[in-house]
Symmetry: C2
Subunit: 328 residues, 2 copies
């Protein structure tokens, strides 16, 4: 059985899902849904239709899993509960503080319609969350650390772009090596925001802009930069295009803890990602969980789920016997 | 509800489980079962009885999960199918090639008796297997690498001890840094056995033993050492006791793979463990899965399971809402 995938929202993430479907032989693209005029949306896969979002209902029986590729701020809080009334869905809702609320809304709609809604799938939340949970269960009473980067933060890049005199910008979040080293040594340090990450900004200014004023506005910006050691580089538009076009990211989840009758032994569990393309990797995680959503749906399960609720075997194209033989 | 844990087999692993139970507030020790004379077995926890293995049946209603701490060569193939007729059980069966056979035997007995048998729990098989599965599902078409060490290999240490003229020995398995670096760079190298690990041996010889002969016998030993670059150090019994008493281990699971329409982006997923005590960490993983076995048993599930079949939430003492709020 081929799993027919629908993509709703065709930006970087939607395109990433399209690429991921191509890498999974048990999946195929059924349709792309967009808020733009479908005539103006060109996708990579041949012979796959592009529809308006409003037409999704008419594809109810042609899509097994609908993947929602909108943003967490305004799109997903509306779209996920709405679409789960028609489809099994997967989203990558990543506003950590609002996950409980989102879960409840999706759960209600999913139970009423008899579908599965898998939320907050990606790498953080997602693979990082899984590793936090596993490591917490194995080492109770330990310390958790999550470092992000080196990678591009879209939100911070946007914040710089809104400053007067800035034409374009790219912001990198970078873990502090000394902090990482201390954590890996099992020193269990207490780390402030400033001690964990630095921020590096590449800014293209408009002609004649006040560079000193821009730099000051960046490094003192509350929430975004004020609590960090921030470096600002002014570069040309050509340099930005040439050296900073990619969307790399990654990070590290570490848990340290002690075992033994008198806590005499120390352990370090570390999970790390080094990603050339943040949206394509996120999309690859989503594709694996789309397989799980499809299978859960066929089992008759309903309601909202997260990565915590899915047994790992559901993600793999291999059956239980092959998994045990090849990967256990 | 407190989960009442039984331990069958009181060596390093059994003692590790006893320590792990102490670190998990929702668990308590019910009893230890031994093949030795219980009068000669002193355990760490006060007021917990030590019984003969044969008496396990009489504790049927006093133990929620029985943890089997015997060896994979001869103990577990017999004990796990036998004990799962009486209890929900967890074992750490680690003979990778014989897992399918063990699974079938445990599954049959577990279904007949209505219990859950969780096999091959630990870090490899166990946490490493999980990371292989997750990474394979996320990056289809990539390359898998598992490195072990730096750590003590019990089997290789034993092999050296059997050589004439050797009084005691400790063998460390060490990953080759250059190989690790190439893998982490995403170079996707093909690595021979020799290119991945080296072996370092600390040997206490008997007085007057032929050291050159011992060294030659070690480094040419088929399967164990012949395919590796092996270093042999002769040390005194006091040095062995002073510097090599611990049982550290660890290792790294890496998967690299590419995404994008033309495979243009590269990704590295890495999971690593650095463990002061191999048996205590294994025991800590087992304790978390004992919680899962208990819950699955209460749900009425039966049969043999592996880490692949258990949704992560089952491992945590936190409920779904707290997990989503704190770890997602």
């Amino acid at each position: 059985m081929t799993i027919r995938i629908g993509i709703l929202g065709y930006g970087n993430l939607g395109r990433g899902v399209e690429c991921a479907v191509r890498h999974n032989p048990d999946m195929e693209m059924a349709a792309v849904f967009t808020r733009r005029d479908p005539k103006n949306v060109e996708i990579l896969t041949d012979d796959v239709p592009v529809y308006r979002v409003e037409d999704a209902v008419s594809m109810k029986d042609a899509v097994d899993v609908m993947i929602l590729c909108g943003g967490s701020a305004t799109d997903l809080p509306v779209q996920t509960p709405e679409l789960v009334r028609l489809f099994n869905v997967v989203d990558s809702f990543d506003t950590h503080a609002k996950i409980p609320e989102h879960f409840d809304a999706v759960d209600k709609a999913a139970r009423e319609s008899g579908h599965v809604g898998l939320i907050s799938v990606g790498w953080d939340p997602g693979m990082f969350s899984l590793n936090r949970l596993y490591a917490n269960a194995v080492l109770p009473g330990g310390q958790d650390y999550t470092f992000w980067g080196k990678g591009v933060s879209q939100g911070h890049s946007d914040a710089i772009r809104r400053i007067k005199g800035v034409r374009d910008a790219r912001q990198y979040t970078i873990p502090v090596d000394a902090a990482l080293d201390a954590v890996r040594r099992g020193a269990a340090p207490q780390l402030s925001v400033r001690q964990k990450h630095t921020r590096e900004c590449f800014v293209v200014a408009e002609d004649g802009a006040d560079l000193a004023a821009i730099e000051k506005e960046i490094v003192t910006m509350p929430n975004y930069f004020a609590d960090y050691d921030t470096t600002v580089h002014f570069i040309s538009g050509e340099e930005l295009e040439r050296d900073h076009k990619g969307i790399p990211h990654g990070g590290v989840v570490i848990r340290t803890g002690r075992t033994g009758w008198k806590d005499e032994n120390s352990h370090v569990i570390e999970y790390s990602l080094k990603l050339d393309s943040n949206p394509e990797f996120t999309a690859s995680v989503i594709a694996a969980y789309a397989r799980a959503a499809y299978r859960l749906g066929r089992e008759g399960q309903t309601g909202c789920k997260t990565v915590f609720d899915i047994a790992p075997a559901y993600l793999s194209v291999l059956d239980g016997e092959e998994l045990r033989r090849r990967l256990l």
